[in-house]
Amino acid sequence: MEDTALKIGKRLPAFTRPIVMENMVEFETVVWNRGRNLHSNAEAARQDGLTRPLASGQNQLAFLHELLERTFGDAWVYGGKISVRYIYPVYPGDSLTIHGVVTSLDNDEGGKPKVGLEVWCENQNGQKTAVGKVTAAQPVSARSWLESSGGAS
């Protein structure tokens, strides 16, 4: 990635991720084991009145992070802000495409350039499932977090 300033209207390169039940189950156990719940178990979902497990909002947040890490590098990871709302259910078998567009260029309180974006996840039917607003400094090529997290996995 080059240290190229973003401009208003710039669309970030979108990418698509399938929603896979096995990954939903594992997502509930990495870092913390949350046990069986409506995100990971069909019976638990039924007991909660759902017809099938529902992907967690955090799953979508993870995809939005990927978009922002790719675009901003350290500028997202050190100081990025996101406000996201989950507006439509996501189920296993769905396919989400992750989008972002630059909407503003300002300066923060310290006078440093700040980029504003709208981001969203969209399912295979064109329905938005999550929408959010993001701010970060202008992108940089550095990805220094990889050094402190044991390198890319």
Binding site: D48, G57, K81, I82, R143, W145
Partner: protein, 145 residues
Amino acid sequence: MNQSVQTGAIWGSIEVGEDLGTFDYVMTVEMISDYRRVVDNPEAAYPTVAARHPANLFYRKYGGRMRVPNTGQDSEYFNPPVAGKRITVTGRIVDKYIRRDKPYIIVEAKAVDEDGRLIEVSRLIGLAREADEPAFAVVTRKWGA
């Protein structure tokens, strides 16, 4: 408040500013690796996304009595977790309100590692329901399904 809104006794008793306590854990190399594999992003910086700090804190106090399905999140990221470092999470209730006849609770969690590095501050926007109310009722009301 709209008197027709069913907020429940527990929601009514929760106070803005309420301390939710603290917990800690070590972010291991394995956790980071597992997270990256599950989200199909070999360079993911914040495995804490899956840790759900605000929800974890809330359920340590209210688990079994109340659920706060995640309808959104406001987060700020300061320093990604370092493998092998202990992370301490503290939290509180920062707001509660009725919107479109539905009760919400906002839970804020702050994560700091053992070296004093601020990791992230996250706010969960929880659509509150008592634990014995099926999720279906709340979810379908929200999404109009």
